[in-house]
C-alpha cells in the first residue's frame, strides 16, 4: 500500500500565545511551531501499516523554518520519501493547504492519504476531508485504527461516549487520524543527523490555490466571563468542598 502523510505545523500551545498589533493574528514572537501531534499519529499509523504489510510512505509538508528537520525526522522514523512544497502560505488555512497538497501530489497520493484528525489552528474545516473531497475519495475522520485488506481498509472511527464504529473503506481513501495504535515512535537525533547526510528532500513549487473566502476580523484570548474565583491554598479548597457538601 502506498501512503502519503500530510504534515502540518501548528503553534505550540505551551507558549503563552499573544495577539499581534493588528489584533487579528498571533504575535509571531510568541509562537513556536511544531508538528501537529495528530499528524505525528498519522505518520505512526502509516509506518505501522507499512511495517505490517509493505508499501511506501511519503511525507509532504509546506516549506518553513525547521521543516527540513521535521521531514528528516519522518525519514529517520521510516518514511521513504519526503516532499517539500515551496512557496505556499502557511497561514492560508486548510482550504488553500488542501489545494496545495493535492496539486503537489499531482492529484494522486497513493492508495491512502493520512493526516491528523484536526489541528489547533483549523479555522476553515479539516484537512483530511477537504483533501478527500478535492480528490473525490472517501474520507473518514477520528480514526484510531487502520487494518489493511484487499483494495480496502477497515478502520475504527471514534464516536462520542467511547463508542467506536467500524467501517470498511475502498481504496484509494483519505483518513484523519485521531490516534495511532501505539505512541508515535521516537527518532533519535543521531539517526536524524545521519539521514540528513544521506537522504534528500524533494521539492515542488506550490500551485496557486484559493484560500478561505473569509477573513479574520479579530483574535482575542477567550473572555473569561466571571472567571474562576481564585483560591489561596489547599485550606480554602477544603472550605469550598465543604460548602458544596461533598466531604
Amino acid at each position: 500500500m502506498d501512503m502519503t502523510v500530510l504534515l502540518k505545523r501548528v503553534p505550540d500551545l505551551v507558549e503563552d500565545l499573544e495577539v499581534d498589533d493588528s489584533g487579528k493574528a498571533l504575535d509571531e514572537d510568541s509562537v513556536s511551531l511544531k508538528l501537529n501531534e495528530f499528524d505525528d499519529h498519522a505518520l505512526e499509523e502509516a509506518l505501522l501499516l507499512k511495517e505490517g504489510g509493505g508499501g511506501t510512505v511519503t511525507v509532504i509538508a509546506l516549506d518553513g523554518e525547521d521543516v527540513d528537520k521535521m521531514l528528516y525526522t519522518a525519514l529517520a522514523k521510516g518514511a521513504d520519501r519526503a516532499l517539500k512544497v515551496m512557496g505556499g502560505d502557511p497561514d492560508g488555512g486548510n482550504q488553500a493547504l488542501a489545494g496545495i497538497f493535492v496539486a503537489a501530489l499531482d492529484g494522486h497520493g497513493g492508495d491512502l492519504i493520512l493526516t491528523g484528525v484536526q489541528a489547533a489552528d483549523d479555522r476553515d474545516g479539516q484537512l483530511a476531508p477537504r483533501v478527500g473531497a478535492l480528490l473525490g475519495r472517501p474520507c473518514i475522520e477520528v480514526v484510531t485504527e487502520v487494518n489493511p485488506g484487499d483494495g480496502k481498509v477497515t478502520v475504527h472511527k471514534e464516536l462520542a461516549g467511547g463508542v467506536v464504529a467500524e467501517y470498511e473503506v475502498d481504496l484509494p481513501a483519505v483518513l484523519g487520524i485521531q490516534a495511532a495504535r501505539q505512541t508515535p515512535r521516537y527518532a533519535p537525533v543521531s539517526r536524524v543527523r545521519q539521514i540528513q547526510e544521506s537522504a534528500t528532500i524533494d521539492t515542488v513549487t506550490s500551485a496557486a490555490t484559493e484560500g478561505a473566502g473569509f477573513t479574520v476580523v479579530a483574535m482575542t484570548p477567550p473572555e473569561t466571563g466571571e472567571g474562576a474565583q481564585m483560591l489561596d491554598g489547599v485550606d480554602e479548597l477544603v472550605k469550598v468542598l465543604d460548602a458544596k457538601g461533598v466531604i
Binding site: 476580523v217 491554598g233 477544603v238
Partner: protein
C-alpha cells in the same frame, strides 16, 4: 438579508444527541435574525426523533432505518441533496466526530465557506462567527460576509433547551441520492465495561497532561479515594494507556455532570471542556495561570498539582 438555516440532526443508538437541539436553538435564533426559516435535516432518523424536533419550522427527512447507523458517504450525499433542495444561507453542523466527516467535504462540494470550531454565530447583514482555536487559548472572530456558508459548531456552545419544543413539526421527505458504496458500516464496538461509571459519580478527580508520568496517577487515585470519588482523565492520558478509555471525558469520551469536578493539570482544551462543562462546580488546579480551564472553572488554584493532591488528601484524612 434574508435567508434560511439548515441544521443537521445527529443521532446515535436511536435517539437524538444534545448537539441537535443546541444547533436547533442556535439555528432558530439565526433564522429569526434573517427573517427566514430553520429546517432540520434528519438523515436515517425515526418518526420518534422527528416528533422531538417541534422547534424546527420544517423537518426534512432523508432515508430511514437503512441509514440508522452513521456512514459518512450516504450521509454526505443526503446532506448535499438537502442543501441543494433548500439552498439555506447557513448550514449548522456539529463539530463532532460525525460532523467532522461531513462539514469540510460539503464545503468543497458546495463551494461554500466553512468556519469551524464555532462557539458563537451572529447573523444579520453579514455572518460573523467566533471560533475557539489554539486549544481554547484564542477566540477567533471571522467575517463570512453575505455568501452562503457552513458552520461547524462546538458542542455545548448553546443551551440545548432552546431547541427542545413539543408539537408536531412539519415533515417533508426527500429522496436519497444514490451513493458509490465505497464506505461500508460494519459494526459498533462498545467500550469495555469499566470498573467505574464516571458518569454516575458525584465527584470526579480529573487528570490531564500536567500529571507528567504514570506513577503520578497514584497521588490522584489516593486523593480520589479520600474524596470517595473516581479518577477521570483527558484524552492524552488515555491515549498514553495510563487509564482505560472508560475514564475519558470529552469529545471522544464521556460527558459527565458531577457535583464537583476537580480538574488537576487539565489545560482545558475545547474537546475536553465539551465533556465536563455541565458539572455543577468545577475546581481547576494548574500551574499555568493562563490555562483556559480557569475560564470555565468556578474555582481555581494556581499550584503544583502533586502538592495539592498530597495536602488535600492529608487534610481529608485528618478530618
Amino acid at each position: 438579508m434574508a435567508g434560511d438555516v439548515l441544521v443537521l440532526a445527529e443521532h446515535f443508538g436511536g435517539s437524538l444527541g444534545d448537539i441537535t437541539f443546541e444547533l436547533l436553538g442556535m439555528g432558530k435564533t439565526l433564522a429569526g435574525e434573517f427573517g427566514g426559516t430553520c429546517t432540520v435535516a434528519l438523515i436515517g432518523g425515526s418518526d420518534a426523533m422527528a416528533e422531538e424536533l417541534g422547534g424546527a419550522d420544517l423537518v426534512l427527512r432523508l432515508g430511514g432505518e437503512e441509514l440508522a447507523d452513521f456512514n459518512p458517504e450516504p450521509y454526505g450525499e443526503a446532506l448535499l441533496a438537502a442543501i441543494e433542495a433548500k439552498a439555506p444561507r447557513v448550514v449548522l453542523i456539529g463539530y463532532t466526530s460525525m460532523g467532522m466527516d461531513l462539514a469540510s467535504t460539503l464545503a468543497v462540494k458546495t463551494g461554500r465557506n466553512l468556519a469551524s470550531s464555532c462557539i458563537r454565530v451572529e447573523g444579520g447583514e453579514r455572518i460573523t462567527t467566533t471560533s475557539q482555536l489554539y486549544g481554547g487559548k484564542m477566540d477567533v472572530r471571522s467575517d463570512l460576509g453575505t455568501a452562503p456558508c457552513i458552520l461547524s459548531v462546538l458542542a455545548g456552545s448553546a443551551p440545548a433547551d432552546a431547541g427542545r419544543h413539543d408539537g408536531a413539526p412539519t415533515v417533508e421527505n426527500l429522496d436519497l441520492p444514490a451513493t458509490a458504496g465505497r464506505v461500508r458500516f460494519k459494526r459498533f464496538i462498545e467500550p469495555e465495561a469499566g470498573d467505574v461509571d464516571i458518569t454516575a459519580q458525584d465527584i470526579l478527580v480529573a487528570i490531564g497532561r500536567g500529571i507528567g508520568s504514570k506513577d503520578d496517577i497514584e497521588v490522584a487515585e489516593e486523593l480520589a479515594e479520600a474524596l470517595d470519588a473516581a479518577v477521570a482523565a483527558t484524552r492524552p492520558i488515555v491515549d498514553a494507556g495510563w487509564l482505560p478509555k472508560t475514564r475519558q471525558v470529552g469529545k471522544s469520551g464521556l460527558k459527565v455532570k458531577p457535583k464537583v469536578y476537580l480538574a488537576l493539570g487539565v489545560s482545558g482544551a475545547p474537546e475536553h471542556l465539551e465533556g465536563m462543562k455541565g458539572a455543577a462546580t468545577i475546581i481547576a488546579v494548574n500551574t499555568d495561570k493562563n490555562a483556559p480551564i480557569f475560564n470555565v472553572a468556578h474555582y481555581g488554584l494556581v499550584e503544583d498539582l502533586f502538592e495539592v493532591c498530597e495536602e488535600l488528601t492529608e487534610a481529608l484524612e485528618d478530618r
